[in-house]
Symmetry: C2
Subunit: 121 residues, 2 copies
DNA sequence: CGCTTGACCTGGAGTTACTCCAGGCTGGTA
DNA sequence: TACCAGCCTGGAGTAACTCCAGGTCAAGCG
C-alpha cells in the first residue's frame, strides 16, 4: 500500500513516516517502479507500534534503540524488555501526575463554577 | 526570594522562569537594587500553577491566554473557565490513551518475560 | 497526442517549548 | 585585592516534528 493509506492505518502522519524513515526509525521502505514507497503489512504493524510508544511520549532516542534492537534480528530481547519496562514506569508516574492535575483542575473549575453554572444542573 | 529558590519552590527551571517572563507568561518580576529578580509569594503561587498546567502538556498559547486573562484583573472568568475545561477534557482523553498504552506494554512485557524472568518471582 | 490533476518525491526552512552557553556584573569573603 | 557564587542578557542549540517549494510520474480527458 502507499503512504496515504499507511498513514491512515498506522496513525503516523505522512510527514512523520518520511521523517522516521530518514532518521532510521523505520528500515528503508520498499519502492515501486515509480520510486514511490510501498508499505507491507509488517511495516504497518511496526509503525502502529511506534505510534503507541510515541503517543505516550517515549523519547526518540529510546524508540530508536528499540527499533535498532528489533531490526538487528537478535534473539536477545533484554534491551527491548528494559526499554519497555522503563517506559512502563514512566507512564505509571505520568498517570499519577495527570490524575493529580485532573483533581486540581476539578477544584479550580468548581471555584470558577458559581459564575458559570447556569448549565450546571 | 531570588530565582534559585523560586525555581525550587515552583518546580519551573531557572531558564524556564526567565523564558516565561520574556514571553509575557509572567508579569515583569520585581528587581532588587542589584538588578536581580525578587519573587513574591504571589509570583510563586502563580508559577506553581503554571507548572501544573505545563506538566500536563497545556499548549503555551492556552497558558498565555489564561495568564493574560488572570493578569488583566477582569472579573469575567468565562475565558479561564473555558480554557481549564478544555484542558480537563484533553487530560481525560490523554489518560485513556495512557491507560491503553499501559495495557499494551504489559502485554508486550509478558511476551518478552519468559526470557527475562529469572528475577521475576 | 498534449494537457491537467492528484498523489507522491526531496531538501530544507519553520515551529514549539524549552535548554544551554558565552561573556559580563555584583556582593561577600579570605 | 583577588576570587567566587549567583545572577544577568542575548543568542545559539535541541527535540520532534510540520510545512513548503519545486519537481516527477501515471491516469484520465478531449
Amino acid at each position: 500500500m502507499r503512504i496515504a493509506e499507511a498513514s491512515a492505518q498506522s496513525g503516523l502522519s505522512i510527514d512523520t513516516i518520511r521523517y522516521y524513515e530518514k532518521i532510521g526509525m523505520l528500515q528503508p521502505i520498499g519502492r515501486g517502479a515509480d520510486g514511490q514507497r510501498r508499505f507491507t503489512a509488517e511495516d504497518i504493524q511496526w509503525m502502529t507500534q511506534l505510534n503507541w510508544l510515541r503517543q505516550t511520549g517515549m523519547p526518540q532516542a529510546d524508540m530508536r534503540a528499540f527499533a535498532v534492537s528489533v531490526h538487528s534480528g537478535t534473539t536477545d530481547t533484554s534491551e527491548r524488555y528494559a526499554i519497555l519496562l522503563r517506559h512502563r514506569t514512566v507512564l505509571a508516574q505520568r498517570r499519577r501526575e495527570l490524575e493529580a492535575c485532573e483533581r486540581y483542575l476539578d477544584h479550580k473549575l468548581s471555584v470558577y463554577a458559581p459564575q458559570q453554572e447556569k448549565t450546571h444542573g
